[in-house]
Structure formats: C-alpha cells, structure tokens
C-alpha cells in the first residue's frame, strides 16, 4: 500500500456520518441593497487606495488616454479583447508603444511595460472586487507585473458579493486556468503594521467604470 492509500484508509476508518448541507444553516449576513452597490463598490476600492473613474460607453478610451498621459505611461499592453483593441487604436498615436500583448520575454514584461489593461467580467459591491477571468486573451501577468493596472468594468456586471456571484452560477464553468478577484493595488503591512502600496504587484490600480445602466 502506498502513502495515498494509507492516508485514505486511516481517514475512512474514522469518518463520521455525513452532515447536512451546510448552506441550509441559516445565515443572516446582510446582502447590500442593489441601490447601494455602485456607491459601496467605489467606496471600498478608494478605501483600498484604487482610483475609480466613471465614464460611458463612448468616452472611456479618451478618459483612459488622459489617465495614461497624467501618469506618464509610454508603454501599454492589453489583452486581446474588443475593449483592448479599441483602446490600443485610440492611444497608439500618443504613446511610444501600445499594443495587444503577444509572446514576450520575462525581461520585457518586468522592465519595459508601464501599464497593463484588463477587462473585468464582474464586480463585487460588498468588497470592491474585480473578477478577472484570465486566458489566452487576458494574460495573468498584465494585472500583476506592470506598475500600473487599468481595469475596465461595466456597471451592469455588478453583483452584491462573492456568494451571490457563485449562487447565481456566474463563475465560469468549467473553471479556466486562473480566475482572480482583485480589490486594490498590491500592498503590505508587514513592517510594524504600516501600510505600504506596491509590495510586489502594481503600485496603482485604476478602475474604469463604464456606466451602462
């Protein structure tokens, strides 16, 4: 018998009777009201040191362009989605390099990209979280390695919280390689409980909230 079988055998020999479905246990944790979702989402993100910029379906690329100019970004990479292509088209004239990301070396990734652009598939109001489903068209490292991460979210994709997202069957199925909840720029309080931003990941997070409702 190998380790696996011995471990499982020991567990089976002392397993209890199965317990009832835990989700039947009443839970009075309050869900935020729909009318409060947007305000709560914004508040949570700004409490966590992220910027939230409201815009509409027509003017968001312009607003992103002004963010890029203000922050002195010269090299931008985006995932390969409609929003990314639109953004690249509208800002490529003003930047040194803006393009849809392809195969790139770690060297390039770590040293030559100022900002990454990602699109969130949902937002969680209770915690101010962005749900990012990564994959071939949404690389994992773009929201991690460049010092600035810009994430677009449509207000219509907001839900109350993570529990509701899961309960409504809105987690991708089957699960892709990597799904992320991002709720602010990277941070640490490991030195005497003093908060510092830009621990290992982005120092700044800008959320482009498209008001499509």
């Amino acid at each position: 018998m190998n380790s696996r079988d011995r471990i499982l055998q020991r567990l089976r020999s002392s397993a209890d009777a199965p317990r009832p479905d835990p989700l039947q246990t009443p839970c009075d944790w309050p869900l935020p009201e729909r009318s409060e979702w947007l305000a709560l989402f914004r508040q949570n993100l700004s409490d966590n040191h992220a910027e939230v910029i409201e815009c509409d379906d027509n003017n968001w690329p312009e607003l992103v362009a002004s963010v890029l100019a203000e922050k002195g970004v010269s090299v931008l990479r985006s995932g390969n989605h409609a929003e990314g292509r639109l953004l690249v088209d509208s800002v490529s004239a003003m930047l040194d390099a803006a393009c849809i990301t392809g195969e790139q070396s770690k060297e390039t990734l770590f040293h030559q990209i100022d900002a990454g652009f990602s699109v969130a598939t949902a937002g969680l109001a209770e915690t101010g979280s962005l749900v990012i489903v990564t994959g071939a068209n949404e690389p994992r490292t773009l929201s991690l390695v460049p010092p600035l991460n810009i994430v677009l979210l449509r207000a219509s994709a907001m839900v109350a919280n993570f529990s509701q997202l899961v309960a409504q069957g809105r987690m991708p199925s089957p699960m892709p390689t990597n799904v992320l909840l991002i709720s602010g720029p990277s941070k640490t309080a490991d030195i005497q409980q003093t908060l510092a931003y830009g621990a290992h990941g982005p120092k700044q997070l800008v959320v482009i909230l498209v008001m499509d409702i």
């Binding site: 002392s14 060297e107 490292t141 699960m175 992320l180 909840l181 720029p185 005497q192 621990a199």
Partner: protein
Amino acid sequence: MSTQTREQMQQQLDQEQHDFSDMQSRHFSVRARMALENEALRKSFRGASDFLMNKRRSVFSDDNALQSLRDRGEAIRQYSLSKLPQLLETLEKNLTANGIQVHWAETATEACEIIHGILADNNARTVVKGKSMVTEEIELNHYLEEKGIECLESDMGEYLVQLAGETPSHIIMPAIHKNTAQIARLMHGRAQSSSGEPVPYTEDVDELIGNARAILREKFEKADAGISGVNMAVANTGTLCLVENEGNGRMTTTVPDLHIAVTGIEKVVEDFSHVPELLTLLTRSATGQKISTYFNMISAPRKAGELDGPQQVHLVLVDNGRSKIFSHPTLKPTLQCIRCGACMNHCPVYARIGGHAYGSTYPGPIGQVVTPQIGGLEKHGDMVSACSLNGACGEACPVRIPLPALIRELRHEANRIPTRDDSAVSGQGVKRSASEALIWRGWALAHSSPWLFRTMMWLLTRSRPLFRTALVTRLLSPWTDSRTTPLPQTKTLHELARAHGVASELKSHNETGAQR
C-alpha cells in the same frame, strides 16, 4: 539616520541571530521568561495584537451577523471534514483531469522528498516561495538548502524573517516581533541587490518595501520554480485558492515555469458555493479586511494559446499527523482551522510572550492544540499549560473551534494514565506525576465529603499566621514567585454565613426563592 556603521549593524545582527538560536534551544519556561523580560518585544506584540483586534472589530460591527456567519463557517468546515476521504479523492480526480499532478505525503520528510524530486526532475536550482505555513511545518527550506537549492521567501514578512535567520512569530504577520528600526538595520546590514550592493539605510517604510521589492522582483523573474501554500482546495472543480495582499503569491504561482503547491489534507471543501463565506471569515478575522487584495483561483497549468503561467503545476497533499487528529474523538475540530490567526491576536498569553516562546511553527492557541498532536506531548507538552482558559480564542475563532476545551483535553491527555488507543496523542501521560495525582485525589475527596471539607477549611482559616512564615512561602514559591502570597480569611464562608443569620444553605436558597 542611524549612528551605527554597517559593520556595527552586521555585528549586532549576528549577535541577535545567535541570541535567537540560543533562546530556541531553551526550555519553554525559560523562553517565556526571556520574552517577558524583553520590553521591545512586548511592545511589538501588544501593539500588533491591539491593532489586529480593533481592525477585526471594525469589519464585524453587527454582532448578530457575525455569529450567524460563524455558524455557517463552522457548518461548512464540519461538513467538509465529514466527507474528507471522498473529497480528497474527488479533488485528486478533478485536478488530474485539469492537468495538475497530485502527490500524497504521509510525513514531513516524505513531503520534502517529493518536492525535491519534482525540482530535481526539472533541474530547478532557484526557488521562490509564497507564504505557506505547511512548508514551515515540514521545514522545507532547510531540507532544500542541504540539497543545494536556493529557496527564497517572498512574502515581505517571511523575507525579513529569513534574512534575520529566524522563524515567523505569527502565522499571518511573520515579522510582527520586529519594529521598523530593527528592520531598517536588517535591510541595510544584510540585504543585497543582485550586483552585491548593500541597500541604503532608511527607516522609511515605503522605501524599505521598495528596496525589498526591487530585490525580490529580480528573483521572481529568474526563478526556476515557485512553491506556494493553499488556503482552500475545491474538490468539485479541482481548484487551488490562495489569499494574499502583496502579489508575491501570484508571482510565485504565475511567473516561474514550475509551480508546486503544498497543503495539509484538511484544507479541502466540496464546492465553490462553500468558498465565499470561508473567504470573508478568513480575511475579516485575520487582518480586519473585507477581502484581501488578491484571491487567486488556480485550476490548471498553462494551456495551449495562453501567454503566461507555469507549464507544470503540482499539488503535494501533506498528512503529517492530520489523519490521526481526524481519528481522535474530541480533538478532531482542530482540523476545522482556516489559519486566520485570530486566536493568537486575542490571546492574552500570546500578546505577552510572543510567537517564538512557543518554539513551534504554529504559536498561540491553535499552535498549542496542533503542535502537540503533530510533534507529540513529549516535546511540546509544556506549551498546553500556557493558557489561562479565559476563552477569548474560542470566541474569536471564525469557525467555532472550541479551543479552550481542546487545550483542556490535551492537558488531560498529558496527565492521564496512558490508554493504548490508536487515537491517543503521542506522549500521552508524559506529564503525569504521582504527587500531583495524589493532590487531586485529596482535592476530590475533600470536596465530596462535607465534614472533611469543613474541617479542612476550619484548619486553613486558623492557620492564617503560618502563611506569613518563610516555610509556607517556600512551599508556595512556584505560585508566589511572581504573585503576592494568598492569605486565608479569618473565618470560613460557612461561619460568616451563619453569623449573618443564614441557618443552612437549603434554607437560604428557599428564602431567596420566596423573595422573588
């Protein structure tokens, strides 16, 4: 600016590291005393405990909602444990289908061997680590270093602790025992950029973090492999979930070509619907955050067409005593733990002696419960006495582990006449002493015999002057060394009651009843 030169700082750091190893080699009671006498250390822990307790309180403002969420958390953990063998098999099946290779380790050594084997197969020489308590538990860094593999901690706190040559003193905030000035000296004295340059001296936290960031980013970029822990593993989808703020966990699991995740077998849940509430309990209880900056859900290695992510992902399931804990009739709830650290933040003993005094990977109340069960009461039996049974940990625990009851049970295990049960904790009965057993027999006898009790109380009250003599002080010295000598009253409670006109206990009870 510091008045010390870099050489002086290095000498001081060497001395501090030496003191640390020296302290760790001492007996628990000596370590505790040394910690109590260290004012800077006590200040660090007091400050951190108050900070974390206040933060937690601020995100659980509605007590009814909190209690209800704790009920749910407890139910989810108990449900998951009740199906543990099936869930582990489902997890293995789904992970394997997703392309993640699953390994099982019965012991710490076997886990280290498996991890080393995977690294060796891939010719991996440099490893970056995300925060993982189970790899501390199995002493992986030490094992890999002996095999010539560089293993660098990348969580800021863990990095600092590794740089100092110490171990974490808290499971969530590993460098909680150091203040900013100490960290400033540590970074200037020991940290180096890749070109071998020392980092400039600074006490500015942003600059300190910036310096560590620059050093570690280079390591992430170049590392052959990343090793991480797991906060929850979801059986139905074959997903590994990681909770973190810094981004080092994502770096570790995304940038190197090889990712090895390591977890205790108890961390599995059945379905994604069980994840959100455990996540919110975890981050709110641990650091008072509604959610951590990142919640990273990994279900596969890099797929065709994807531009990043590791080519290989492995999961090492570590037993190391957990299946034995699982078989114990009363200690089983130990495995409900989600490793938030709230019990240590709320523990008045931990706040005073700090994490290192326990001399174990897991300090504080959960450490007092886990450690003797994994490492045996022979070695770790003393730490279960470091508890006043005040109950704060049990009230803070987000999944309602009855920690005080478990600590009491372990004291009983340590003091009982050994049974030969399979589930008996290793080292059962090791603290049993004939004199203590005799004293308790006497205590039980006195309390079950009214005339004996009254005689004893009468004698005690009348021997009051004796309590001021050197002989009695010496006899009571284990108690009175750090406390004033207790003095019996001049009369027993029964005598006082009679003097107040209470004829008997029965009558007084009736009178109180009549007054209502």
